[in-house]
Symmetry: none
Subunit: 144 residues, 2 copies
DNA sequence: AATTAAGTGGGGAGAAGTGGGTATATCCAT
DNA sequence: ATGGATATACCCACTTCTCCCCACTTAATT
């Protein structure tokens, strides 16, 4: 399971290191694609295969969702990790996510997300304010 | 069950000791994450896994839920206790909780909470002032 | 007073992140 | 087809951070 927040950078060759803690679970081959809120999703190959199958067989539902799924499937690229555990970000994905030099990598269960650092900070601040009351949210989960 | 209040410090390497009384129950691996009122939650791995499972079962369609999940999962970090029973606080969590040198560690049933000492004192004072209300609330619950 | 346990501080080996050089492959224009 | 430019893959080097170990201080216990 992927968790945590990691600060990395894209170098001149558009390479981004995956957190070392996540590398075993990622494996050598991963799939990177467009994600929600203008970030990038990184899946282990196995996870992606299952997901792609599900997405492909989905009944044609609401048009917004459908077009997003299309974007996600079409935007997928399979990339290898190099010896240092980095992946190469394709140009169109780099552009889609608005990646500058500093990026934030976030662990979210079955995937990693790659964010432009400043975008991530903005998003996080908003999220913190809106769910200031984490207690209430946790309550919904039946945790307490 | 975790109980009690402990005064500790963060050293230059961002390490904080867990109270020795709690170490057996914590185990070697714990998860630290964002908590309410800008404190940090420290869960034994087992407890966290149950919690994470619940988070994973939440629908990701709604953006509010999505951001809450991101906050909790991306905000979480799995850390090991060193031989002295200390954990390393990631930068972003240190910042989130506004931790200076002195911290208060509090036991709360299934978890520990890590507070900046001054924040804790403010919070405690507020709580004490409203303790009459709390008594009243407890009364309503039929505790006394 | 001596011994033990807990909290704190710091040195050093190794790992992780980052940057860059070079060779091979790919593409485009000549 | 050929030459040049661009891109990718692989390798190595440097810097920083993390983790492990040891040591000192204080407090509690015998």
């Amino acid at each position: 399971m992927f968790i945590g927040e990691y600060q990395h950078t894209i170098d001149l060759k558009k390479r981004v290191a995956m957190p070392s803690k996540c590398r075993v679970e990622l494996g050598k081959k991963v799939v990177i694609t467009r994600g929600m809120d203008k970030c990038l999703f990184v899946y282990p190959m196995k996870t992606w295969e299952k997901l792609a199958e599900k997405l492909g067989s989905l009944p044609v539902g609401e048009s917004g969702t459908r077009s997003f799924i299309r974007l996600m499937l079409a935007g997928a690229a399979d990339v290898d990790l190099d010896k240092q555990g980095r992946i190469l970000i394709p140009d169109y994905l780099k552009e889609y996510a608005g990646l500058k030099k500093d990026v934030t990598v976030a662990g979210l269960f079955d995937r990693l997300e790659v964010w432009d650092k400043s975008k991530w900070n903005v998003y996080k601040n908003k999220a913190e304010k809106s769910s200031d009351d984490i207690a209430e949210q946790l309550g919904k989960l039946g945790v307490y």
